[in-house]
């Protein structure tokens, strides 16, 4: 099986790769294998490739051209994947947005992106109001029947280092920020990750993560590279229903974030389900605490667990192989092959093994920067004299003599919660829209796994629930605080900014 997947690696040509090559090759190598599955549809690679051609010619006739941007908003389902692959096929740039995106974020992304087309799920008809100026197509409409139109000569699009897609994440300013990834980035990193994870054609990958999250999206790429199947689950299914869904869909590979695994541990300890097919779990998005890792090993003795670390800007930094866990527990593994990671001192010097500093990542997986944000791009991305791409991660840790990465802290600024990266500013700004609030400061209580919002109020006093409900108008669910703490005044830094360090110190007292 491994030989087969290696042979598909070698078929990828080094230069001039295009995202649409994945499906073209898979349709030749694995035409009859199942590719996409949701609760209604199951589709093989050959049929998916045909459908994508059909959709691509439809997009082409709608005027979508290479270089254009197309936004997609939908729950996980087969038609979402077919449409995003079709956008890539015509050479346009796609971006999958959260199906729970707020109207405010959608407006900000629309203004930045100027998409020519929006592919929208009927469940989000409310977003229609943001779409003026762009064409709107409903994703739920039945797929067009295959016709001779797939013979239309689709434009030969830019390859290699050209922009393939955007992944929107929270920026440090609280504004959504589009991370730009190229075809060459995807080609390199997909192969490098597969070399560590070794998915096989018989695998069925259970995706309960939204495809707006790069961790979910890339599972589609791994499947196309290896001939594996992807079950597109609903993120809501990652609760009580998860063990059942895993059994019903005969899932072999489960990519997850710590909250998903915490739920699985609870369910499995309390009412164990037989999951004979499950063989791989991967974790990223946040650190998987060692007790949880041990508990997963105990509950699923035959499952291989891969702790990983990454940032959307380069997709994946490091992966720990299951056989390395015992000797290197508490690390997030070694850097991907063909890449380099080191810790740097504040003075910009490369630290010796064991020294704690900011992680720097170098390699062909480092992306193109942030969409239309040259200043932010310059802060985080560097091109070295030899042309190599370097990413300044903002995360802190050390690299030991054997190359294993030990993670110490996320950047002081960004918060990782429930697998999402978010800026405290975004939450504070949403809070300050409420007239009753005079100030807000947001931090994460790492010990209790809670997102905490410190506030000062005046006049009419809101209850916590009323406040959180009002916040829900402007924030996605994962970003709604778990705890509200009221103070007469917030601690401030010398230049009058909310002092988050001081807030963190208060956590032990409140």
């Amino acid at each position: 099986m491994i030989i087969l997947s290696l042979s598909c690696h070698s078929r990828l040509v080094k230069s001039g790769f295009h995202l649409s090559d994945f499906l073209k090759r898979a349709a030749l190598d694995f035409p009859e294998r199942t590719f996409l599955v949701d609760d209604e549809v199951s589709m093989r690679f050959a049929e998916a490739a045909e459908r994508v051609e059909g959709l691509a010619s439809k997009l082409f006739s709608l005027g979508v051209k290479p270089g254009d941007r197309v936004l997609l908003v939908s729950e996980n389902r087969v038609s979402l994947v077919l449409h995003l692959l079709a956008v890539a096929r015509v050479g346009a740039t796609f971006s999958v947005l959260s199906s729970q995106i707020t109207v405010a974020s959608m407006q900000q992304i629309m203004a930045q992106c100027e998409p020519v087309l929006i592919l929208l799920s009927h469940s989000r008809e409310d977003l229609r109001c943001c779409c003026d100026g762009s064409r709107l197509v409903w994703l739920d409409e039945p797929l067009p029947a295959n016709s001779g139109s797939s013979k239309v000569d689709l434009p030969l699009s830019e390859r290699g280092d050209a922009l393939a897609f955007l992944v929107f994440t929270s920026g440090t300013t609280g504004m959504p920020r589009g991370v730009m990834l190229s075809h060459a980035n995807v080609e390199f990193v997909t192969q490098a990750i597969q070399k560590r994870l070794r998915y096989v054609p018989e695998d069925r990958i259970g995706v309960f993560l939204p495809l707006s999250f790069d961790y979910g999206l890339y599972q589609i790429f791994y499947a196309m590279m290896c001939g594996a199947a992807v079950y597109l689950g609903r993120p809501e299914s990652a609760g009580p229903e998860l063990p059942k869904a895993l059994a019903r869909q005969a899932i072999t590979v489960l990519p997850g974030v710590p909250t998903l695994f915490a739920g699985l541990i609870k369910m499995q300890s309390w009412r164990p389900a037989l999951l004979p097919d499950l063989r791989v779990m991967t974790n990223t998005g946040d650190h998987l605490p060692l007790p949880h890792l041990k508990e997963l090993q105990r509950l699923f003795p035959r499952v291989e667990i891969f702790p990983m670390y990454g940032l959307t800007e380069c997709k994946r930094v490091s992966i720990l192989r299951p056989e390395e866990i015992d000797r290197h527990a508490n690390t997030v593994g070694r850097a991907l092959d063909g890449t380099e990671v080191w810790a740097e001192s504040p003075e910009g010097e490369r630290l010796p093994p064991g020294g704690v500093g900011e992680f720097m990542v170098r390699g062909p997986h480092v992306g193109l920067g942030y969409w239309r944000a040259p200043e932010e791009t310059a802060k985080r991305y560097r091109i070295q004299a030899d042309g190599a791409r370097l990413l300044v991660t903002g995360d802190y840790g050390s690299v030991d003599a054997e190359g294993f990465l030990q993670f110490h802290a996320r950047s002081d600024f960004m918060i990782k919660h429930r697998g999402y990266r978010m800026s405290p500013v975004e939450i504070e700004e949403a809070a300050c829209r409420l007239p009753q609030l005079t100030a807000a400061g947001c931090i994460k209580d790492e010990a209790r796994e809670q997102l905490c919002l410190f506030i000062t109020t005046h006049g009419e006093v809101l209850s916590d629930a009323e406040l959180l409900m009002a916040l829900a108008e402007h924030l996605e669910r994962a970003k709604i605080p778990d705890r509200i703490i009221r103070l007469p005044e917030l601690p401030r830094t010398a230049n009058e900014k909310v002092d988050r360090k001081a807030l963190r110190a208060l956590l032990t007292a409140v």
Partner: protein, 76 residues
């Protein structure tokens, strides 16, 4: 207390977006009131304890946690 009242009392602490004095109708959308997938697991456990039942696997679906009325069907 009727099972409906017992259920609503049990649900309340799981709904952090529901004000303490607000009504909780049987068709309220629990997701909008703050119930997430991880909490649904705790809710399931609490239901079994409160109602002294063992909820069969086939009843545990995503839709079972959408409204109080749906949750009630788990224990009746």
């Amino acid at each position: 207390m009727s099972s409906e009242e017992r259920l609503l009392a049990l649900l309340r602490p799981f709904l952090r977006l529901l004000p303490a004095d607000a009504e909780l109708p049987m068709d309220a959308e629990l997701g909008r009131l703050g119930l997430d997938s991880l909490q649904s697991i705790d809710l399931l456990l609490a239901l079994e304890q409160e109602f002294g039942v063992s909820i069969p696997d086939e009843k545990i679906t995503v839709d079972a946690f959408t409204t109080p009325a749906q949750v009630l069907t788990l224990v009746s």
